[in-house]
Symmetry: C2
Subunit: 406 residues, 2 copies
Amino acid sequence: MKATGVIVEYNPFHYGHIYHLEQAKKVSGADVVIAAMSGNFLQRGEPALVSKWARTEMALNGGIDLVFELPYAFAVQKADTFANGAVSLLSAAGCSSICFGSESGDIEGFYDTYRFLNQHDEKYKAAIHAFLQQGNSYPKALSLAFASLEPDKHLIDLTKPNNILGFQYVTAAQKQQASLKMATIKRKNADYHDEQFTSSPIASATSIRKALFSRTNEGSAIQSYVPDDTYRLLTSYQRSFGSFHNWENYWSYIKLLLLQTTAEELKDIYEMEEGLENRFLALAAKAESFSEFMNALKTKRYTWTRLQRALTHILTRTKKTDVKMAEEKVSYLRLLGMTRNGRAYLNRYKKEISLPIIVKRASFDDPLIRLDSKAARIYAMGLPQKYRQKALELEFSQQPLYIEKK
Amino acid sequence: MKATGVIVEYNPFHYGHIYHLEQAKKVSGADVVIAAMSGNFLQRGEPALVSKWARTEMALNGGIDLVFELPYAFAVQKADTFANGAVSLLSAAGCSSICFGSESGDIEGFYDTYRFLNQHDEKYKAAIHAFLQQGNSYPKALSLAFASLEPDKHLIDLTKPNNILGFQYVTAAQKQQASLKMATIKRKNADYHDEQFTSSPIASATSIRKALFSRTNEGSAIQSYVPDDTYRLLTSYQRSFGSFHNWENYWSYIKLLLLQTTAEELKDIYEMEEGLENRFLALAAKAESFSEFMNALKTKRYTWTRLQRALTHILTRTKKTDVKMAEEKVSYLRLLGMTRNGRAYLNRYKKEISLPIIVKRASFDDPLIRLDSKAARIYAMGLPQKYRQKALELEFSQQPLYIEKK
């Protein structure tokens, strides 16, 4: 059996993802699709709309055979660390390829870009440094520095979000010397950050979340933009746990934490750098909502994503010293769910998988997974009080989901 | 003009307090009554039912001429430090006497007890130590140690809560060598901790709060047990700010803080001692409400009050190092309110008052008052979101209340 890997968040799972999975199977010729999926908090520094279990169920119904959780220390991270964790996870799970979506769709372009940047390494780094000094955000400095090298037309456009991530996957695979074939699929229609629905049935996750959080419509507005299964799982989650998870639900906590913490203590938090802590403290005292706070906080120097990640780390009190472990590869594979096909794959190859496969959270311990459990406890605090305990218990007692089909 | 001092919390102001003030004026022969009043959080480690401003208004309407705020570092404290702060405040404000309510009502008994314990100091301390070692709470050990000295009958009963506090006031005045005459008034009817209303109109503050927080009655049940003015101010506060302040309102914050903090960090918090931090962490993860948490937390070794104070310090992140300043006397007098009579007193004696009198919070800085402002910000977080900013602004912009009458 041949396995291909995908790196996902499914926040929520939509038609674009179905297309990605169909293409991944076709391109890789694999029998099994394995997902490295972020848990409770995501790369853009926000709580996942619904639990890892609901999203695992969407994944299994949508075409994934095995879902492993990308630990918090890798998931809520800059693109390079995120990629490093995800690629090491899929490599450890025995994937022979990784298929990612990108605006480019041309894998040779990624490799050429990788080589090109390696050749111009010193000049590239100097240019990044210079653009950062000019007050640009890190992603902006990267893209300006890249442009300043006057790349050939056939190199990929490193201003596009999915190209950037894909480039980091390719880089991670090269650096890890993983025997992984990288493949990319050109994304259809919706841009990553699109906030509006288009006429295409492939809506971006961003536009779906935006519709879910708007006051005027209560979920039904998204019905035609997501697969029936996603719609069913979203509404069922909202019914069972009283609410989706939204940054606004955590705003009071953030505000309290910033009211009671000193700048000195805040400096220890991961991704709090360069005087950002004073800005956070001054603005939190005045802001009355998360969106008001973020709008006040935003500067040219820091991306929205970067600021949201810092807030996630404040919420979970994740310190710089806590994420040192993310400099390494993943150290276990936490199984969240499998299809019959996925189970067959595991049974056949488990002896060749060198990392422990975690089926029961309670019977395993590791600094990485402890951070995940802390994140799960805090994630549950975004629900109305009476649903929190139920949500939390799932982290410790839920067996991996199993789905018969396929 | 002659001033007498009282040490109060008025949570809320009730008929027992009116009696106390009438008696205080009679016994002291004073023209002016000055209150040292706790701010947002109280000696028993709980948020005040309503703001310091609403309670100041009750105080002024009820017979107090000048209200000064006892800073947080002294207010949320063990009886001895609390007493030390309050006595130093009233002494600095120029009081020639302090009148406190007690179960005993006999001031000579307090002085005799003070001398008696000084004479038996070594034996007393050894006995306290021994009773603490047996797992008793500190107040219990004090009272057992006292009994073990076989005191004369005319000494005061140091198992009664108001006698204990009064004894600390007398002790503080002696130690500070304050030229203050101490006087005590026998409390009428209601015991400090009474939870039930009795037939007497003098209900305890505890029973009034209990009635206010019960689900079945919405305030009107207390109408006949509190002065009209208290009733008016309580209902007006609830209308203007959406809620009274109750520990349950802060439970989610406490839970989040305990979920994200390590035992090591918790140890730095004031009044967290002797492995208490591990107990806090373990029980918080399971508890679903403040009362559930407190009931699980309670042991013979720690009084409810002591545990609540530790939780208040967790909520405000008040560290052991932050309250070092409470080893000294108060360093300023923050004026919360005055009557015409109180203003006349201030105008006449302000040159003789050596401490700065703070009228505008915003134009004064001091580590003690910074702690009060932090407490005020966090106190406001116990209100529904839309009322918080309004509540908080009062801390910084509210002028001392002024009342014409008298």
